[in-house]
Structures are given as structure tokens and as C-alpha cells.
């Protein structure tokens, strides 16, 4: 409350964008036209404040329509939702895809993150600078309505270098599309209106392999056709779940010993049980599809190529844990995944597989898609809750854990996409059968995102326990001479060719002091400047730190500064002193940050230094 609005009024277009989401304003107090009645009575209060969760969708609506969010547009949205503009500004400014400064309607986000960096992203940016002008400036015909921006990882690493194109406008005129591999010719053609975007092919090199489990429908079933999904065995798991009833479903999940695939490896069955046992209502299911870990693209491929599987798995989870409603929070940079999932939800709803009385069993469950705004931190589960609630995407202290107090303060089951799709086979085949694959402590199969210097980059599925070498061989071996591998993502670790016989399990990686993380396996050959890669990782964390807690806010900056000094040779004291400082900063972040971002922000950097990849001789410059 305490809404003070002083700036210029919203334009008709901006108001139309907001009204399209919220409906027309009910009174002058909510930003509509003042009527004599408004001077005598005003309705609002709780009913309006309860819509706070529509803040981010409202911001997206304006951004989609106009290309940026003006002060007037923000004020109007705030009047509609009774949110102080300063508060909403704090929310909006936390998302990279939302612009609070004027921005042309056509924006090209060019990835310059680690995978693309190794695939010529710098050269691409250089060409764009020459042909379109500097980053962030208006470009195109006669200084035209377009601009280009550097972007962190877009999750298109297997087809690097990548770009994401967003065109704002009325629904019929706007579009979002990925460009892979991106070239300056294509981008310029787009800016000049000679091209309207192309989606690259999904990259599942194993497609059609009968040994696949999680990926078996990819390339087989049509991702936009429910019947095709059913023909490939879809929705038999939901039927089976209804036969088993919730307790037995949870028992199967527990027996499967499935560990969460989002990075923390928490036993999934235990989480489900905790939510199911809660007496508090309502309860929520959240599917975390805010995949933003540099080098990771598995959830995107699954959502794009097998969206019904995600919807079916969420329905089972909601049924088993007793959640009335599910939210799927999809990364803002994944327009195709979002469209496919939304389409799948519509079809499933039309066919009685979502909504009231699913399959005539008296079970109700709905899924709402929420779209991220370009913030790595929102992949952290509690920051994700805040993002859905319309607050700044900042992690919460734990405890209380989400199973007790999560989304809207209610018990919440949060799983990532890969974890959820495992549920389908667990329910159909039984937990014990599922656990027969893999090792006793790491059951099932695992998705790996291979990129960089390998023969066939793409998404791979292998049983847990497969060695790194076997996985690389499956992907066609290394291209060129291996310098190092990044395992687990930017929050993971560098490993060298000496560690190729590492079995890919939770226990073996933990023993080796590394992590499977989000399943990233990124290979760098000798042509790559690893110092630049490590610097990019440090810049990524500095950029993405939400700034809420001090160790991470300060530590990620200090880490990048020290690395820059080491690269430039202008060290403070000595190299040893700088590396000691880095270790010290990393220790503080690991010990004292409240969320995983800060706790792992120094992992990759530290491993690079330990392995000698970040010494004047170690980083073999081109």
C-alpha cells in the first residue's frame, strides 16, 4: 500500500496489455476512469492484494506488448494490484528479460556463456557490433526498432553458438524463437525483417534407441498430439496410479530410491510423503523447470519433445501428495518449451485428464504455467516460490522447508522436470523394478547434457554407474585434444582426462569431490582459453547473485576481481596471496550463504585452480 504515483500515465497499449491479463479496472482507484461513485466508495483490500502473484505475468504482458516496461505502465499495473511501485520496481529489476529502460521491440539475446564462448560467441558478438552497432543500442534499418544483447546461457549448448529472438507487439505480431547455430547473417536478416526465425532440431542423438527409458518417446511421439502420446504408452501411468491409490504410489516412489535430479539429490519419496502427511490445506505442487545452470538443457528438450510426460507425471505427483494445484515454472528463455507445455495442458484438460473429476475418479488437479523472467536464482526452490508470489526472486531461509511452508506459505512439493518424468516408469513397473537399474545408491538412468568438444553433442540417457569415458564414447568421443571437462555445470567442477573412469553416480562423484549437478558434461579442447571460461563463470555468478546475503553478494564480486587480477598479471601481493584470498572467499560463501548459489559459486573456480587450469601456463591461450 502507500501507493504514490507521480510519473507519466500509461499508454493505451500498455493499459491494454495489463487489462488483457487482469480484465478491465473496476474503478478509478484501480487505474480506471474516475466516476462520481469513486468519490463515495472504493472496493479493494484483500481481494485485490490476493492477486499479487499476477505481478510477474503482468510485467511479462507489458514487456511482450511494448518491448519494455515504462514508469507509467508499471504504475498502472501497481494501481491494479495495489502494490507500491517501488516494491514492483524491485521485483521487475531482478529479471534480465524485463527492461525498465526503453528497448526496441525486436531484441536478439546472444549467448556468450561458456558453451557458446567455446563455439565462437565472441566472434559473433564482434560481427554484430560491426554490422548492427554496440550492444544495447538501437540497430537495424535507419537506426531501426531492434537491438542485440549479450546473454547468459540460453540452454542451447548442443547447438552453440545460440541466440534468442524476441519481438514485442500485439499477439498476432509478436514472436519468440531460438536461433541455432546463430550467425550474424541470420541475425541481421532478422533485424532487417527478411527472416522470421527458425527453431533448430531437437538434439537427442540416441532417439529411437530401444534401451531408452526417459527419452523413449522423443522422436517417436508427436509432442503436440495427445493421441500420439497415448499411442506411445502415455497415460497408462496415471491409470495405474489411480489403481494403486496415493499411499501405494508414494511407497513405490520410496522403493525406487529415486533421488532428486535438480542437483541436491534428496530422496523423492521422502519429500512426497512429508507433503502427503501434512494436515494443512491447500497444498501445492511445483514443477521446477527454471533450468538455468550454464551447460544444461535436459529439461528444455524433455518439455519440447515430450510435454505430455511432464503433465502426466505432475498429475500423478499431485494426486499422490494431495495437492490441489500444480505450478510449472518454466524458464523465460524457453519459449518453445512453454508453448508445448501449455498446449499439452490444454489438450489434457479438454480430454478430462486435468481439471475436475479426472478420468471420472473424483480427483481434481490443475496446472498453471508460470514463466520466469531471466533470473538464475529463481531456480532455487524458495526463490522460485517468491517469484510466483510476485515478490523479488530471493531465497528464503530454511527451515521451514517447502514441505512445511512453501508456495503461499503452504506445504509444497517441488520437483524438477527430470525427477518427475522418472515417476511414470516407477508407477507402471514398480519401485523395485526401477531400482534394478543403476547402482544400489543411485538408481535408474540419468540425463546428461553433452556439449563442447565431443563428436555428437546433445542429450543422452545412460544408466547410473556408466563411466564418464563410456558416456563420451557414446557421444562420439572427443573432438580434438581434451584440455578439461566441466562436470555438473557452472556450480560443478572441472575434471581432467585422468578422471574419465569415474562412474557417474551420486556416491562416486561425491567421493571424488565432484558433483553430477544438473548433468552437464562440457568438453574443452586445447584450442579453448580456459581462463576466459573460468572468468565467464565468475562473471555469471557475480551477475546472478540476488544480493540478499552478504557472503555471496560481496564474495562473487571479490572472486571475479581476483581472477581478473590473476589474468592480467596485476596481482595484489603475490599469486599465492590471490589464490589464498580466493580460497578464503569461497570458504565464506560456502559456509555462510543461505542458498546453493552462493554455496557453489566458487566450486568451479576452485577446481580450475587446483587442477592448474588457471595458471599462466595452465590456461593454454590460443
Amino acid at each position: 500500500m502507500d501507493i504514490k504515483v507521480a510519473g507519466p500515465a500509461a499508454s493505451a497499449e500498455e493499459m491494454a496489455a495489463v487489462d488483457g491479463l487482469l480484465g478491465p479496472p473496476l474503478s478509478g482507484w484501480q487505474g480506471g476512469v474516475q466516476s462520481p461513485l469513486d468519490q463515495r466508495v472504493a472496493f479493494g483490500g484483500r481481494a485485490v492484494r490476493a492477486q499479487r502473484h499476477l505481478l510477474l505475468p503482468g510485467l511479462h504482458a507489458i514487456q511482450d506488448r511494448v518491448g519494455w516496461i515504462s514508469e507509467g505502465a508499471l504504475d498502472y499495473l501497481c494501481a491494479r494490484l495495489t502494490i507500491p511501485p517501488a516494491d514492483a520496481y524491485g521485483v521487475a529489476s531482478g529479471y534480465a528479460l524485463l527492461s525498465l529502460e526503453p528497448r526496441p521491440p525486436l531484441t536478439v539475446h546472444v549467448c556468450d556463456d561458456i558453451a557458446c564462448l567455446g563455439a565462437g560467441a565472441e566472434r559473433l558478438c564482434g560481427e554484430l557490433e560491426q554490422r548492427l552497432g554496440p550492444e544495447g543500442k538501437r540497430a537495424g534499418p535507419s537506426g531501426g526498432p531492434a537491438t542485440w544483447l549479450r546473454s547468459p546461457c540460453l540452454g542451447l549448448c548442443d547447438r552453440a553458438p545460440a541466440a534468442l529472438v524476441q519481438k514485442a507487439g500485439i499477439p498476432a505480431r509478436r514472436f519468440e524463437t531460438a536461433l541455432t547455430p546463430a550467425s550474424s547473417q541470420e541475425i541481421v536478416a532478422l533485424v532487417e525483417g527478411r527472416l522470421s526465425g527458425l527453431e533448430g532440431a531437437e538434439s537427442v542423438p540416441q532417439a529411437g534407441d530401444p534401451g531408452l527409458r526417459l527419452l523413449r518417446r522423443i522422436g517417436v511421439a508427436d509432442p503436440e498430439d495427445l493421441d500420439s502420446y497415448r499411442a506411445a504408452g502415455g497415460y497408462s501411468a496415471l491409470r495405474r496410479a489411480f489403481e494403486l491409490e496415493p499411499d501405494a504410489v508414494i511407497r513405490e516412489v520410496t522403493d525406487s530410491k529415486l533421488l532428486g535430479r535438480g542437483g541436491a539429490a534428496f530422496p523423492t519419496g521422502r519429500k512426497w510423503e512429508a507433503v502427503a502427511k501434512s494436515t494443512v490445506r491447500p497444498r501445492y505442487l511445483v514443477c521446477n523447470a527454471d533450468e538455468s545452470e550454464p551447460g544444461t538443457f535436459k529439461d528444455r528438450v524433455v518439455m519440447e519433445a515430450d510435454p505430455f510426460a511432464v503433465v502426466e507425471a505432475m498429475t500423478i505427483a499431485g494426486y499422490a501428495a494431495g495437492c490441489e494445484k500444480g505450478y510449472l515454472y518454466v524458464r523465460g528463455e524457453y519459449p518453445l518449451a512453454r508453448r508445448r507445455i501449455e498446449h499439452a495442458i490444454r489438450q489434457a484438460t479438454d480430454r478430462g485428464l486435468l481439471g475436475q473429476d479426472i478420468l471420472g475418479r473424483g480427483v481434481s488437479f490443475d496446472i498453471e504455467v508460470r514463466r520466469g523472467g531471466g533470473a538464475y536464482i529463481c531456480g532455487e526452490e524458495t526463490a522460485l516460490f517468491n517469484s510466483i508470489e510476485g515478490k523479488r526472486g530471493e531465497p528464503r531461509n530454511k527451515p521451514p522447508f517447502p514441505v512445511q511452508s512453501g508456495l503461499f506459505g503452504k506445504p509444497t512439493l517441488v520437483n524438477n522436470v527430470e525427477t518427475l518424468i522418472n515417476i511414470l516408469d516407477i508407477v507402471v513397473d514398480g519401485g523395485r523394478a526401477f531400482a534394478a537399474t543403476g547402482t544400489p545408491d543411485s538408481t535408474g538412468t540419468r540425463l546428461f547434457c553433452l556439449s563442447g568438444a565431443v563428436g555428437r553433442p546433445g542429450l543422452y540417457e545412460v544408466p547410473m554407474g556408466t563411466t564418464l569415458r563410456q558416456l563420451i564414447d557414446l557421444a562420439g568421443g572427443f573432438r580434438g585434444k581434451l584440455q578439461a571437462l566441466l562436470l555438473g555445470g557452472a556450480a560443478g567442477n572441472f575434471v581432467t582426462g585422468a578422471q574419465l573412469d569415474l562412474p557417474l553416480t551420486f556416491e562416486a562423484t561425491r567421493a571424488a569431490g565432484v558433483t553430477l549437478g544438473s548433468g552437464v558434461v562440457m568438453a574443452f579442447d586445447e584450442s579453448i582459453d580456459l581462463q576466459a571460461i573460468v572468468l565467464r563463470i565468475a562473471r555469471f555468478f557475480r551477475d546472478e547473485s540476488c544480493g540478499q546475503c552478504v557472503p555471496c553478494r560481496v564474495g562473487t564480486v571479490r572472486q571475479e576481481e581476483a581472477l581478473i587480477r590473476l589474468v592480467s598479471g596485476r596481482v595484489l601481493g603475490s599469486r599465492e596471496r590471490e589464490t589464498a584470498l580466493l580460497a578464503d572467499v569461497n570458504q565464506a560463501m560456502r559456509d555462510a550463504s543461505i542458498c546453493g548459489l552462493g554455496q557453489t559459486a566458487g566450486s568451479a573456480v576452485e577446481s580450475a585452480i587446483r587442477l592448474g587450469l588457471f595458471t599462466p601456463n595452465g590456461g593454454k591461450a590460443r
Binding site: M1, D2, I3, W29, L37, Q39, R40, V41, A42, F43, G44, G45, R46, A47, T82
Partner: protein, 545 residues
């Protein structure tokens, strides 16, 4: 109410209630700490309704804001009652068991159908009905009010109209349901409790009750005048008549806080002897023959204060007062000694022990217990009593112990200062978050929120009078004129203007206000003056304050 001058509920109950009506209160700004309790209630699910001519920052939090015309509260309250009765939502069992005078009340409110209230208040009938139903149907409900109710010539009637609603619905005397006047200072409640009102001895004991009076006479070994004294407005009338020639002012600044300021200054200047005891050299003190510098109550002296929820709390001395300033007790006792009565040099605790001996509702409150329990809510009749979270619980006993709670049929009466062609704008005065009353205690500190004095008007009125936002204008009432810059404020509707009394040295708002006072409470009708607004003859342009 019903013989006890305090709010019936505790702050905690406001947090745990289901419906809160803020009636004539912008607590968000004027009782910001209390409003935290309101907000906690709101966040826990309570519905909030705001009744206020302006759509204040408190009203912004409300589920429904009712923007009535100034001084039409009784019409609104009576119509709500009428609606509640006709909808069958009156708590007849409570009414029959615990109240008196319902029939007469029913006959009175019968004349207030929703249509009449809509006509008189300006608020749509449907909205009045919705709030009436929400209040009557609530399991727990609170009505909280402040000066929007009491700064009227019929202040007591206004309060009675709200009490009637609580009696009608049984929203009093139960946990979570109650009636709460919010006090403007940390110890307004305590001042009244201690007898600093014309008709009561400490503990709300009637000075005109011989039995009560003789108890005090025995304790004090003196004779107490058997008639009630003058309240503030009567004192000014007495000055006018020449009956009152000596005035002793403690911690008040009537030279700037009184309505019709020109008259107040004239009368104060005509006194034979004016004594002011204060921690600041106020405007009134500057007029005094003798100024007695006092110690600051909250940090330089020992004692107690009592909050709006009737909680007596200890105050401890943290600092020595500046040289020359003395504790209030010391000043009063020294004054008494020089007037020929040796009261010794009692400590604050010694004075408190005397209060406990004479005021039954304070008897159980030793300093030790006040400390241990973190304050105690009166009544607390003995040392085993925990204090009273809410009062009038007796009304829910069957049969009711003691007298029944009376309905008081009251009628709508318009403000005294009538609107006319010459004075067409209704000026209402109030307070803002950044300042306190006449600014004596806040003016010395800077605040980023403080904007100085403005005549706040609707943008429509600004356009009508050809006044730009920020332009200096002349505001006149039947009593005087002030120059003040206008500010467009959408919380005011056309025809409604708002000023504060925070900056009397720059803008003497009370030159405009009327001293029409309520005969029972002595409060002037600060909330309703009729003014006109004129463009200044010389183009003044925007002021740059």
C-alpha cells in the same frame, strides 16, 4: 462507555478479530503503532472497513471504503442498525438479557432506511448494506474510532451511535469483539484515569457522588468542591465572562490547538495570571507570566503511563533533566508548599500507592507486579488479579450482574458551520504521519515525509477555482482567513478540503475552524468548517517550499 472511560478490547484482540471498522480514524498515519496491530489482523484474514470522508492511506487498505459526507456518521450508523434489524441479524438474545432501551432505539433507527442514509451521507446504499451485514454476521468484530467521531459538536452522540451498533450485534464484552477509541498520546488514557477531567476523581469516580467524594476527603483531609469543574471550552467561556482570570496550563498549547484561534489568543492574552508548565517554550508559554520548566515524562522522570488498551506501564528515568527543569511531582508539591500545604516530597511510587488505595480499578497494580507482568490492564482490583484483557464481560453472564447496558437513541444533526454559497467548501482538519499536533514535539526534527502545510483539495476544485497545484491561495471561513498553498489530492472529493494543525506558526489553520463544542465532552468541531477558496489578486505562482 457504560461507566468506564476506556477501550473495551486489547490490541491482541484486534489481531485476532474477523472484522475491523475504522470509523473516523486514519490510524495508518495517526496511530501508526496501533495500525500494525490492525495490519496483523488483516494479514490473518480480518476484513477491514474504513469510514472516512477522505480516502486516506488507512482506507487504501480497506476491503470497502465508505466516503461519507463530514458529520453524517449518525445517519450512517443508524441506517446500518436499521438494516441489521430488518435483516434479522440483531442479536436479540443479548439485547434482551443485557441491554435496556432497545424499543426506543428501534423506533428511532426505523426512520433511517438505507435510502435516507444514501441521501444524507452520499454513500451508496448497497455499500452501507454490505458493511452492515459483514459487521453483524462476524463472529468477532471491532469498531475503532478517533477524532473523526469526537471532534464534532455532537461528539458524544456520535460515540453513542457506534456503541449502539455493538449492543445491537453483541460485539462487546467478548474476546475479539469490542469498541475502541484510539488515544492520541501515550498517556491520554492515564490522564483521564487519574482524574484530569472535570467530573471525575481518580479511577473514574464521580466527583458529584458524595460517597466517592467523602472517601477522598478523608484520605486527603480536605473538602472537595461537590460540583464538576469546567472543561476546556467552558474555561474559555468563563474567561470571556471574566469569571476565570488565572490559568495553570500543564503540557498543553491552547494558544495554537484551540479552534477559532483568534478568539483563543485574545482571551489568553486577557488573563490576569497565566502559568505554563511544559518541557518546551510553546506559543502559550511565551504568553505566560510564569513558566515552570518541566522534566520530560518519558525519559527524565519515574512513573506510569496508560495506553489505549488500558494497560498501565512503568516509565523509568533514564536521564537527568536539564538544569532548571524539574519533575512534575516536585513542581506541584513545591507549589502546594508555597501555597501553604506541605505535601512533603513524595516519590512517584509513593503517589502511585495513594492511587492504589483510592482507585479500586488500580488496587492490584503494585510497581513490582507492573514490572513482572509487563504492565497490567485495568480493572485490576487485587494483587491476585491478572488484569482485564477486555471489559464488560459481565454483559455475557446470565443473569447479567449490575446494570444493563443502555441503548441511546440519537439523531443525525448536521455540522454547525453550514455550507452556503459564500462558504461552499467543507474543510476538515486532521493529522499526518510525520508530525504531532501543533508540532511542538516534532517540528524540531526533520522528516523526509514532512511537506509543510497545504490546503488539500480535489483536482476538480483546483480547476474550478483556477488554482494550479502548488499555487498560493486564500482560504476564508466565517471567522478568519489564511493564505495557504493548495495541493491537489485525489483523496479529497470535490467540495472537500483538508488541512492539518501541524504548522501553526506558518499557517494558522485554527483561524478557520469553529469552536462549536459538544456540551458533554467539551470538544470543538474541528472536523467541519465551511470555507471558501479564492485566488490571490496578485499572481503568486507556484510557491517553492
Amino acid at each position: 462507555m457504560f461507566g468506564a472511560g476506556g477501550g473495551t478490547s486489547s490490541y491482541r484482540e484486534v489481531e485476532e478479530t474477523d472484522v475491523i471498522i475504522l470509523w473516523g480514524s486514519n490510524a495508518r498515519e495517526t496511530h501508526p503503532i496501533f495500525f500494525h496491530h490492525v495490519l496483523r489482523g488483516v494479514h490473518q484474514g480480518a476484513r477491514l472497513f474504513a469510514v472516512d470522508p477522505r480516502r486516506t492511506s488507512s482506507a487504501e487498505w480497506a476491503d470497502i471504503w465508505l466516503g461519507l459526507d463530514v458529520g453524517t456518521d449518525i445517519s450512517l450508523a443508524n441506517a446500518m442498525a436499521n438494516e441489521i434489524i430488518h435483516a434479522g441479524l440483531a442479536n436479540m438474545e443479548f439485547i434482551e438479557r443485557a441491554t435496556a432501551g432497545f424499543e426506543e432505539y428501534r423506533r428511532t433507527v426505523e426512520r433511517y432506511p438505507l435510502e435516507r442514509a444514501e441521501r444524507e451521507t452520499g454513500v451508496p446504499a448497497a455499500a452501507i448494506k454490505e458493511v452492515a451485514h459483514a459487521y453483524a454476521r462476524a463472529d468477532r468484530a471491532q469498531i475503532c474510532w478517533t477524532l473523526g467521531i469526537t471532534e464534532h459538536h455532537n461528539a458524544v452522540d456520535n460515540v453513542l451511535a457506534l456503541i449502539n451498533l455493538a449492543l445491537l450485534t453483541g460485539h462487546v464484552g467478548r474476546y475479539g469483539s469490542g469498541l475502541n477509541p484510539l488515544r492520541g498520546q501515550n498517556n491520554v488514557q492515564g490522564g483521564g484515569d487519574m482524574g484530569a477531567i472535570p467530573n471525575k476523581l481518580p479511577g473514574f469516580q464521580d466527583v458529584e457522588d458524595p460517597e466517592k467524594r467523602s472517601k477522598f476527603e478523608r484520605a486527603w483531609n480536605c473538602t472537595i468542591p461537590p460540583k464538576r469543574g469546567w472543561h476546556l471550552s467552558q474555561m474559555f467561556e468563563a474567561m470571556e465572562r471574566g469569571d476565570l482570570v488565572t490559568l495553570y496550563v500543564i503540557g498543553e498549547n491552547p494558544a495554537q490547538s484551540e479552534a477559532d484561534q483568534k478568539r483563543a489568543l485574545h482571551l489568553l492574552a486577557g488573563l490576569e495570571h497565566l502559568v505554563v508548565q511544559d518541557i518546551f517554550l510553546t506559543r502559550t508559554a511565551q504568553m505566560a507570566h510564569v513558566v515552570l520548566p518541566a522534566a520530560a515524562g518519558w525519559c527524565e522522570s519515574e512513573g506510569t503511563v496508560t495506553s489505549s488498551e488500558r494497560r498501565v506501564q512503568r516509565v523509568r528515568k533514564a536521564l537527568e533533566p536539564p538544569k532548571g527543569a524539574r519533575d512534575d511531582i516536585e513542581i506541584i508539591c513545591e507549589l502546594a508548599r508555597r501555597l501553604g500545604h506541605d505535601w512533603g516530597t513524595p516519590t512517584a511510587e509513593r503517589v502511585w500507592e495513594e492511587v492504589r488505595g483510592l482507585s479500586p480499578m488500580h488496587t492490584g497494580m503494585s510497581y513490582r507486579r507492573l514490572e513482572e507482568l509487563g504492565g497490567i490492564q485495568w480493572p485490576c482490583p487485587d494483587e491476585n488479579h491478572p488484569g482485564s484483557q477486555f471489559i464488560h464481560g459481565r454483559l455475557w453472564e446470565n443473569p447479567v450482574q449490575g446494570p444493563r447496558a443502555p441503548f441511546s437513541a440519537v439523531e443525525q444533526e448536521p455540522p454547525v458551520d453550514e455550507l452556503s454559497e459564500e462558504f461552499p467548501i467543507r474543510l476538515t482538519t486532521g493529522r499526518r504521519l510525520d508530525s504531532f499536533n501543533t508540532g511542538v514535539q516534532t517540528g524540531g526534527y526533520s522528516s523526509p515525509l514532512r511537506e509543510g502545510e497545504w490546503l488539500r483539495i480535489s483536482p476538480e476544485d483546483g480547476a474550478r477555482y483556477g488554482l494550479a497545484d502548488g499555487e498560493l491561495a486564500c482560504a476564508s471561513s466565517r471567522r478568519g482567513s489564511v493564505q495557504v498553498a493548495v495541493r491537489y489530492d485525489p483523496s479529497c472529493r470535490p467540495g472537500l478540503a483538508f488541512m492539518t494543525l501541524h504548522f501553526p506558526d506558518e499557517t494558522a489553520t485554527n483561524v478557520l475552524t469553529i469552536d462549536a463544542t459538544d456540551p458533554k465532552s467539551g470538544t470543538a468541531e474541528f472536523k467541519a468548517s465551511a470555507i471558501r477558496i479564492e485566488k490571490l489578486p496578485i499572481p503568486a505562482g507556484s510557491t517553492s517550499r
